[in-house]
């Protein structure tokens, strides 16, 4: 294939396999100057693998990458960064002990003299952060940031490289609407300056808002490249999934039962104040708010991951003391964290071992694990959740992000909870799987399980919740019923 001079980047016949499994099979791809090119596909389609190869983080088995007319030979990250390719990684890659500024300029410090000059770096980083409109102090250590803030740091880092090509692998999965809007604006500016962007996201509206062309991968195969405006949503989904999906949100007809859980005047200094809500069996309570509003902190407190200062947690009419996740699980509370890498799964253990981890005692007699029961349950759940894997003995670290999320949800489900807290449950989940998870939520409520769903995706909140609590800066600003709630109203209460 002759390379097109318009193309800043061209990929030919790229293949890569892991332990004999083809993750990428003969991929074709081209990227034009100044375009935003979406890369779409289900979880595990091979998008991240493809991008890591482009960046030089993985070595391809075969194939060629041509950048600005030249074949990338050595293909090292360092070289590629220098040539003008940068990447926002799906799994946020930051150094926790360094400051925001030090992270943003990591690997590029020489631009600021051979002795480190943290003053210059701080100043420069603060400028970039301000420009983007994130309220983060450049001198704070990364370990003190929330996951969304870390994501913003990653974005700042990629953008500040003056790159010609920026790869964005699910940059918005950890962001709320506000920041997403900010990012999309930034992308438009970059595009105007001639920067080419490869954009990966499972959020359809973003794709249609900013991308020019879409390339679809399915099961490691190249499927098609189309102009965005010539490909409607259903057709796109069909290309990705190989079938059609019509409704985004399944209908929920679960009966609401008794009040089974409530929280009274829950407070933790500096995080949230006087939180009050109750939830009935079979109900979905959505929690909305901006980044840093304190939603995750409330969930962590209820689940016993953090101590709270004051207030009461009442389960089925009894006041309960929850001091650890162990207590929470014993009391029938389950939690799917927003940070699955840190809190969700054990990377070196198999799908089966992860799924059964929280309920292992139920599969055990005395001290011994009954492996056949465990195997059965894990197999069934893995099938129900449509986890894409070679077997349930595959290590979770080798799964795609979306499939990892399903494993985490599976683990919580297996504890037979009465209350499930889902913190950003569809983060990084493809559209087909999202629908599965929504169906799953409905199955839960059908069984009389109460669900608290924290989400930064307003359509999801509106589509799934019976009632919606809105938080702003740690304070509860509204508790809306499904009927009163609209996107605008929620935003109003959230910025309050």
């Amino acid at each position: 294939m002759p390379s097109n001079p318009q193309n800043i980047l061209q990929v030919q016949n790229l293949s890569k396999s892991f332990l004999g499994v083809k993750a990428l099979d003969n991929i074709q791809f081209d990227l034009r100057k100044g375009e935003v090119h979406a890369l779409m596909g289900e979880n595990g389609a091979g998008k991240s693998t493809f991008m890591k190869i482009l960046m030089g983080l993985l070595k391809p088995d075969s194939g060629e990458i041509i950048f600005e007319g030249e074949i990338l030979k050595s293909n090292s990250v360092h070289e590629n960064l220098r040539k003008g390719i940068s990447m926002i990684h799906q799994e946020i890659l930051v150094v926790p002990e360094l400051t925001v500024a030090q992270n943003i300029f990591l690997g590029r410090e020489t631009n600021y003299r051979s002795w480190l000059n943290d003053k210059a770096i701080n100043q420069k980083a603060q400028e970039i952060l301000d420009l983007i409109g994130v309220k983060i102090n450049a001198q704070t250590k990364i370990k003190n940031l929330s996951i969304a803030e870390k994501q913003m740091v990653e974005i700042s880092k990629a953008i500040s490289n003056n790159a010609k090509v920026i790869i964005m692998d699910e940059p918005t999965s950890a962001l709320t609407d506000n920041e997403v809007t900010m990012l999309l604006k930034i992308i438009k500016d970059l595009k105007a300056k001639g920067v080419a962007i490869i954009y990966i996201s499972h959020k359809m509206d973003e794709i249609y808002e900013i991308t020019d062309r879409i390339t679809v991968l399915r099961d490691g195969q190249y499927i098609a490249t189309k102009n965005t405006n010539e490909l409607d949503k259903n057709a796109l989904i069909a290309l990705m999934v190989g079938r059609e999906i019509n409704d985004l949100f399944p209908v929920n007809n679960s009966k609401k039962g008794e009040r089974i859980f409530s929280v009274e005047n829950l407070s933790t200094k500096g995080k949230f104040e006087n939180i009050n809500f109750e939830i009935k069996a079979g109900e979905v309570l959505g929690i909305a708010g901006l980044m840093g509003a304190g939603r995750t902190e409330i969930a962590r407190a209820i689940f016993g991951l953090d101590k709270y200062d004051s207030g009461e947690i009442i389960l089925k009419g009894n006041k309960v003391e929850i001091k650890s996740p162990e207590d929470a699980i014993r009391n029938g509370i389950g939690y799917v964290s927003e940070d699955r890498k840190a809190l969700g799964f054990i990377p070196a253990l198999s799908i089966k071992d992860n799924i059964s981890l929280s309920s292992l005692a139920n599969f055990s007699k005395a001290w011994f694990v009954n492996s056949s029961h465990e195997h059965e349950a894990a197999t069934q759940l893995s099938k129900d959740l449509k986890i894409k894997s070679t077997s349930i003995n595959q290590k979770v670290m080798t799964l795609s992000g979306g499939n990892q999320q399903k494993v985490v949800i599976g683990k919580v489900l297996l504890t037979s909870p009465t209350l499930v807290i889902l913190d950003e449950p569809t983060r990084g989940i493809d559209i087909g799987a999202k629908f599965e998870i929504y169906k799953l939520i409905n199955q839960l409520t059908d069984k009389g399980i109460a669900v608290i769903m924290i989400s930064s995706e307003l359509p999801e909140i509106l589509g799934m919740s019976d009632r919606i609590m809105v938080l702003s800066k740690g304070k509860q600003t509204a508790l809306l019923s499904k009927h009163e709630a609209t996107q605008e109203k929620i935003m109003q209460y959230a910025v309050n």
């Binding site: 332990l19 004999g20 689940f303 991951l305 650890s324 996740p325 162990e326 929470a328 699980i329 014993r330 939690y335 964290s337 840190a342 809190l343 969700g344 799964f345 054990i346 990377p347 070196a348 253990l349 071992d353 981890l357 929280s358 292992l360 005692a361 055990s364 001290w367 011994f368 694990v369 492996s371 683990k411 504890t415």
Partner: protein, 309 residues
Amino acid sequence: MLNRLRQYGIFVVFIIICLILSFISPQFLTVSNWTIIITQASINALLAFGVTFVIITGGIDLSLGSMVAVTGVTAAMLAHPDTFPVALPIFAGLLAGLLMGVFNGFIITKSKIAPFIVTLGTMTIGRGLALILSKGRPISNLSDSFNFIGGGEVLGIPFPIIVLIIIFTICSITLKKTLLGRYIYAVGGNEQAARASGINVNQVKMAVYSISGLLAGLAGVLLTSRITTGQPNAGAGFELDAIAAAVIGGTSTSGGTGTMTGTLVGVLLIGVINNGLDLLNVTSYYQQVVMGIIIIGAVVLDSWNQKKD
């Protein structure tokens, strides 16, 4: 099958080394020699099994050698003929080991200090304790029944080998088949996630350090009985051999992975090399060089083996 072999890459390396040795030395592949190899390896094995649990949780135990000394001296003090039944010194040795393990676990879980530094502290304390208890002198003149543990035979099999087999089986089952085993992997694989999955991380850590102490106690009793003396300076450096065996056998020092079978192979590998170098009468200076090269070489070979997909 081939895949399984590859998984146990170090096992292949082990077999190759054995083959080479049996070509060079006619005595190597005899029943009596292997009885000796395994008997000699039994003490390192007990320590290595214990520390395997610890390392899988992402920790380390440097106090093994000192625990061997303290427990050995404790047992010896109570093993004088005709004073107490033989169960007492054994029990006391095990208890001393358990207590030191519990101490390690307690400090590590309560203070969140790196296990490296805590067990380094215990290592120093333990050495001092052993010397204080024994007043710096070997304690000898132990009862025959006590000396049987390390020196006796049952059906022609030396008792230490029998102990080795029993403990290996228990440890292996614990790691593979029990709740505790699964939790050990989980804690080492991702401590935060383990906690969020409802695992009592501190309990698991207490358990592994206690087991490690208990097995060090058993090793101390066995050693004391084998050499028929309680030696306050016994066991110096044993921790490094035990950790080496575990790591050679595939246990990752960053936690989360490892098997008892791997550790056993690691222990035997070290034992075979020691034995082989003596059989071949390699000068002691060169023994150390060869030992070091083989350890690194074996692990390098193993890692290459695994990388080839």
